[in-house]
Symmetry: C2
Subunit: 234 residues, 2 copies
DNA sequence: CGGGAGATTGAACGGACTCAAAGTCGGTGG
DNA sequence: CCACCGACTTTGAGTCCGTTCAATCTCCCG
C-alpha cells in the first residue's frame, strides 16, 4: 500500500484526487479478524473522504479491515454511471481477492482508517493452517451471499422495497443508541440501490410522513416501525 | 442426493412438481473438475426440465457439475417475482457453499445431467491438500465476480445493454458452429436480466431489424455484429 | 396436420428518471 | 457567537423507458 499510494501520488498524478496526505502509518496491535485468524498484525492507514483506496483491475496486494469510517466498493461505467456493490463498515474486511487483481474500486465514504495486511502473508498462513484457508474462503462466501441478495433487490424490488431493505441492513450494522447515523450521502445510497438520489429522498420523506421513521438532519434516522419495514423487505 | 430426493418425492410430495423419475444413478469415471482437483469421482444424475435440484435454505450436502443441459439458480419472492442469479452450463460447478445451507434454489432449465460429489468429501480432501482448498475458494470467488458484474447490469444498464451483455456472455459460453443455441425461454432471460419477457422479445427483434443478429426460431441466434454489441456492453 | 406452449407485437399505463428550483444544514471564518 | 457559504437535500413538474394487459402469431411436437 505504501509503495503503491506513494507511486500514485508522486508519479502518476491521479486525475480525480489532487493531493492527499497519504496517512499516518502506525503499527497496531489490537485484536482483529486478521490477528485472530492468522496471527498477523496489520498496519493502520488513513484515507480522507472520497480518497481512492484501490482501483479496479489493480494488483490485489493488500487486504483491508475497516477500523473507523466507511468504504464503498463500486463499478463504474465510462459515462459516469456507478454501481456500489457494498458498503464496508468498522470490523468489515474488504479487498480480499482469490485472483490476481481487484474487480472493483474502493474509496472512502468519509474519513476512514483501515488496517492492512499483505495478501501474500495471509496466503502463506493459509498454506500451513487450513483454518486460515477456511476463513479466507468464508470471507469470499460472505461477500457472495450479500451479492446474491443484492441481485434480487436490484433486479426485482420496487424503490420502496429497496429503501426498506437498506434501512434494515443499516439498522443491523450501524445502529448506536437506537439511531442510524449514515456515513453516506443520498447519491451513494442511490448508487447502491440502483436508484437516483431524488428517489431515495422521496421514499425517505414518504416513510417519515407515514410514521415509519424519524429524520433529524439527513444523516440521522430513527426507525419507528421495523415490523412494517420488514413487511416491505419481503 | 439420493436420500434427499427420495425423501422429497416419497414423503413430502413437493407442491410444484407432481412426480418425476429421480434418475438413473451411474458411476462416472471421465475427467472432471472434481476429479482433477480432488481425485474424487462423481455420480451422474438426471433431472427433467423444470425439476428442482435443491431448494433455498436446504442443507448443502452435495456439489454439482453440469454434464449436459442447463441449470438456473434463483431467488424467489413470495408474490412470484424471481431473480435468476446465474445459468450453469456444461462444465460449470454449482451448489458449492461455504456455510451450511444453500442460499438459492437450483432447477433444471431443460433435461439435465449432473455429476454430484458429497461436499464432505471435498472438504475432507481440502483438509489434506491446500490445492483443493484453493480450488474451492477459487470457485466461490468466480461466482462472486460474476455476481459483481451482474449487479452493475441490474442496477445501472438499460434494457438494450443488458441484452447485449447477455448475448455476448452466451456467445462465449455456448456457441457451437457460430450459433448460439439457447436452452432457456424468454421468461428465464427476463428473470436473469431484471426485465420482462416482452422486453427481451422486443429488444431481440430490434437487434435483428438492425442487422446485429439473426434469429432462426426463438432459441437459435447468430451474432452478426459483435463489435456493436460490445459497444453496448460497455 | 392440429394442438398448445412459447414468442411476438400493439396500445396504454405508470414508476422512476430528468430537469429545475427552493430549502436546509453543517462547517468555516470573521 | 453568529452570519455566511457551499454542498447536500427536498420538492415539483413533465417525460420516458419498461411494464402491463391483450391479441395474434409461430413453431415445435405429437
Amino acid at each position: 500500500m505504501f509503495s503503491q499510494a506513494a507511486l500514485a501520488s508522486d508519479l502518476a498524478t491521479p486525475p480525480l484526487l489532487p493531493s492527499f496526505k497519504i496517512g499516518n502509518a502506525v503499527n497496531f496491535t489490537g485484536g482483529s479478524l486478521f490477528a485472530s485468524y492468522s496471527g498477523l498484525l496489520g498496519t493502520a492507514f488513513s484515507y480522507a473522504k472520497d480518497e481512492e483506496i484501490y482501483g479496479d483491475d489493480e494488483p490485489a496486494e493488500y487486504v483491508y479491515e475497516v477500523m473507523s469510517g466507511a468504504v464503498r466498493t463500486c463499478k463504474l461505467l465510462d459515462d459516469g454511471r456507478r454501481q456500489i456493490g457494498a458498503f464496508h463498515l468498522p470490523g468489515d474486511v474488504f479487498g480480499l481477492e482469490s485472483g490476481p487483481n481487484h474487480r472493483l474500486t474502493a474509496d472512502a465514504v468519509i474519513d476512514t482508517t483501515v488496517r492492512i495486511v499483505r495478501r501474500r502473508s495471509l496466503e502463506a498462513a493459509a498454506q500451513n493452517n487450513i483454518q486460515v484457508a477456511n476463513a479466507l474462503w468464508a470471507l469470499t462466501a460472505r461477500d457472495l451471499r450479500h451479492a446474491e441478495d443484492h441481485m434480487l433487490l436490484l433486479g426485482r424490488k420496487t424503490a420502496s422495497e429497496r429503501v426498506a431493505t437498506f434501512l434494515l441492513e443499516m439498522d443491523r450494522r450501524l445502529t448506536v443508541a437506537g439511531m442510524i447515523e449514515l456515513p453516506m450521502c443520498r447519491r451513494d445510497i442511490g448508487d447502491y440501490l440502483g436508484l437516483t438520489l431524488e428517489t431515495i429522498s422521496r421514499v425517505l420523506s414518504q416513510f417519515q410522513s407515514e410514521g415509519m421513521l424519524g429524520l433529524s438532519g439527513a444523516r440521522h434516522i430513527m426507525l419507528r416501525n421495523r415490523q412494517r419495514l420488514r413487511g416491505m423487505n419481503i
